[in-house]
């Protein structure tokens, strides 16, 4: 595995404008030395990358440094990968025995457990309240393929871990190692997948305070007592106000809908999910249009998929735009608190 080749590949992923900041965070090369030979504004990206690789080669760069740079890149662009969420749980007789939140201890114990199964490289880097792991499993052959590198994000003291895609052959072993190193007894894969890492983390960690309760978490409930309120109302000179002939016929209706939507979803941004799937196994409800189905009580199997760049926001807007009749059913209205991508609906027995 050529260290310099993988370094060049990672450097090529960055944007030209980010190089100065990244190099300062990485702290492997002294940035002042670089200013002599590279003009970050004028030179092309290829020139900058080749100059940096040259300097790193002279300094004898190790795989550990390349891994740190890779983690910096992933932390900066977390929304490129498909993430899956796992829930860890302990049996009740282990109460009171909290695992440590010390990052180095966690990394060492995970490395020990993984060493049982494969030859690997494990690196970690903290970001805010979470700890990122980069696990590179040495496959057969010299080539490094992207499927051999797994990223895991763990919030210490929480019972959730978020991972990127793991190859099927490695999955059981990696999860077993994670389980043992974090001293838990069970690990369950949640039906929650997505691209936006922050939203997935929010949905699982703050599951109980989404929707209208998010105003308390985001400190929007109390107004600033020292803030000044504008008492003088300025004249509304927007073009709509000037055209006094334009009125909304159903202004009351619109306001009522917006009010109801804010009660269920809250006013802040909803967590981002790209896809939401419902599996329906209920009896047919369109008998008004198909009278011949009146006698049938057997369930109809349906799958409904909502897709978009932010599905929960879209569902919130469906109510305000009038395409859905409010109040929305609970499995749609509470989707922000369910922490699930795939939901099954069956007949109430």
């Amino acid at each position: 595995m050529d260290v310099v080749l993988s370094l060049r590949r990672i450097l090529n992923r960055f944007k030209k404008t980010d190089f100065v900041e990244i190099l300062k965070t990485w702290n492997f090369i002294n940035i002042d030395d670089l200013y002599a030979s590279i003009d970050f504004q004028r030179n092309t990206k290829t020139t900058i990358v080749s100059r940096i690789t040259e300097i790193c080669r002279e300094k004898n760069i190790r795989p550990y440094h390349v891994a740190q740079l890779d983690l910096i890149y992933q932390q900066k662009n977390p929304n490129c990968k498909n993430w899956t969420v796992f829930k860890l749980s302990q049996t009740s007789d282990k109460n009171g025995k909290q695992e440590t939140a010390e990052y180095s201890v966690l990394e060492d114990s995970l490395r020990q457990q993984l060493a049982v199964f494969f030859r690997h490289d494990l690196d970690s880097r903290p970001q805010g309240e979470s700890l990122w792991f980069r696990l590179h499993i040495h496959g057969i052959g010299v080539q490094v393929s992207t499927s051999d590198v797994i990223y895991m994000v763990y919030h210490p003291h929480s019972s959730y871990i978020i991972t990127s895609a793991i190859k099927v052959t490695y999955k059981d072993y990696v999860l077993q190692a994670v389980l043992t190193s974090l001293k838990c007894t069970q690990l369950k894969e949640l039906q929650l997948r997505g691209k936006n890492l922050k939203s997935l983390a929010d949905m699982t960690l703050y599951q109980q305070c989404q929707g209208s309760f998010s105003q308390y978490r985001l400190n929007q409930a109390d107004c600033n007592p020292l803030g000044r309120k504008k008492t003088i109302k300025r004249k509304d000179s927007s073009p709509d106000a000037l055209r006094s002939r334009l009125t909304y016929e159903n202004l009351q209706d619109k306001k009522a809908r917006i009010c109801k939507t804010e009660e269920t979803f809250g006013t802040s941004q909803q967590p981002t999910l790209e896809r939401l799937t419902f599996q329906l196994k209920t009896r047919f409800r369109g008998q008004h249009h198909i009278p011949a189905m009146v006698g049938h009580h057997s369930p109809i199997h349906c799958t409904v998929k909502f897709e978009g760049h932010s599905v929960i926001e879209g569902i919130k807007h469906l109510g305000t735009c009038g395409l859905a009749s409010l109040p929305l059913p609970s499995h749609l209205a509470n989707v922000h608190s369910l922490a699930k991508n795939t939901i099954s609906l069956a007949e109430k027995s």
């Binding site: 419902f278 329906l280 209920t282 047919f284 409800r285 369109g286 008998q287 008004h288 249009h289 198909i290 009278p291 011949a292 189905m293 049938h296 109809i300 199997h301 349906c302 799958t303 409904v304 998929k305 909502f306 897709e307 978009g308 760049h309 932010s310 599905v311 929960i312 926001e313 879209g314 569902i315 919130k316 807007h317 469906l318 735009c321 395409l323 859905a324 009749s325 409010l326 109040p327 929305l328 059913p329 749609l332 609906l345």
Partner: protein
């Protein structure tokens, strides 16, 4: 005793009574629709083709193999073609057309800076062939396949195919066509690069004095197609194994722009349940599928969705359907899923071409 709806008080018209009324009253033979000539959706549509097997024309054609299965499993773009003037399908004429088209493509390549096909450096070679097995009745013209291959460096070896187009006709009722001078091949299935497609279509328009338009499927047509073809799983195939293999009924609705964040809603019904719904809607003895049956099918599915999600699907646009016969997209893409359904799908497209032509002549 036919009850006249206008004499009943408003409070008496309950849902149960209304459905009874719809079945009993046909006081006038004309629909209120007669006053809207612009969108004349037909009252009913044929489900199956009239001729179920190919009638051989000459003794020679009995040995020719049917190439219908080449249409299956590929995504085609559909165009509608007006009747072609002075088109003959003898071997010598087809060879002439191939030479003309190749020369035209060569001229286009030399003309502008934009190459006909960016990858081919040595130009393209076109060929016209007869394609057997698609035309059904005596009146249908034999299907023509147009292939454009990029020329490779070694002159004898054929390069890769950059364009395939199939002009075909299945049960096309060309009532007003002058049979001597015109040949009707109304459906053009195209698969190829954008540049080559544009040039081939331009050449066809010039050579045969015809009009070629991309066929787009509005939501109404998609609704017709999905309702008609959902029942195509025959009983002997309706075992559990077959149900897994056959694609289920799928409707994809695109959400309007003002709803930010949500792009599409897809509803998929398992094949066996779709067949059950279709059987309860359709009159088993009849070969025609009526407008009321289509409406009940679609409205039934939308009502089932509404009962679970309180979202009005009718307010959104149907943009793609999947049935056991084919995948159809609103922008004119089609992928036929099995050999058995090729003729039905093509027959339906030929019918749509006729209807749009009639609509244009009325307006």
């Amino acid at each position: 005793m036919a009850m006249d709806r206008s004499h009943m008080a408003l409070s008496q018209v309950t849902p149960q009574v209304t459905s009874n009324l719809q079945q009993q009253t046909r006081s006038t033979p004309w629909l209120a629709r007669r006053h809207t000539p612009y969108t004349k959706t037909p009252k009913s549509r044929r489900l199956t083709c009239k001729a179920t097997r190919r009638i051989p024309r000459t003794a020679r054609s009995r040995t020719v193999t049917s190439r219908v299965n080449e249409l299956v499993g590929k995504t085609w773009r559909v165009y509608s073609v007006s009747p072609l003037h002075s088109f003959t399908s003898t071997r010598s004429h087809l060879r002439n057309y191939s030479r003309h088209l190749s020369a035209y493509l060569e001229a286009e390549r030399h003309k502008g800076g934009i190459a006909v096909d960016v990858q081919s450096e040595f130009g393209e070679k076109a060929s016209f062939n007869l394609m057997h097995g698609i035309a059904l009745t005596e009146e249908d013209a034999e299907a023509i396949e147009i292939t454009v291959r990029s020329r490779s460096q070694n002159g004898s070896k054929d390069g890769k195919i950059v364009f395939t187009g199939i002009l075909c006709s299945v049960e096309y009722d060309g009532v007003n066509i002058d049979k001597e001078n015109f040949v009707a091949l109304p459906v053009f299935l195209v698969k190829g690069t954008a540049a080559v497609t544009r040039h081939v279509i331009a050449w066809l328009k010039i050579q045969f004095d015809c009009r070629i338009n991309m066929m787009r499927f509005p939501p109404m047509e998609l609704a017709w197609m999905v309702s008609m073809w959902s029942g195509l799983i025959s009983d002997d195939e309706n075992s559990d194994v077959a149900v897994v293999r056959f694609p289920s009924l799928e409707l994809m609705y695109s959400v309007p722009e003002e709803v930010k964040g949500l792009k599409s809603i897809t509803m998929t019904v398992k094949a066996g349940d779709a067949k059950l719904l279709w059987d309860s809607v359709h009159d088993q003895d009849s070969d025609d599928f009526t407008e009321e049956e289509m409406e009940s099918f679609i409205l039934g599915l939308e009502a089932h969705f509404f009962a679970h999600f309180k979202i009005n699907l009718a307010a959104m646009t149907l943009c793609r359907i999947t049935s056991s016969a084919a995948f159809i997209g609103a922008e004119g893409r089609v992928k036929i899923l099995s050999e058995k359904h090729v003729h039905q799908v093509l027959r339906h497209f030929a019918k749509l071409v006729t209807e749009s032509r009639d609509r244009k002549s009325v307006v």
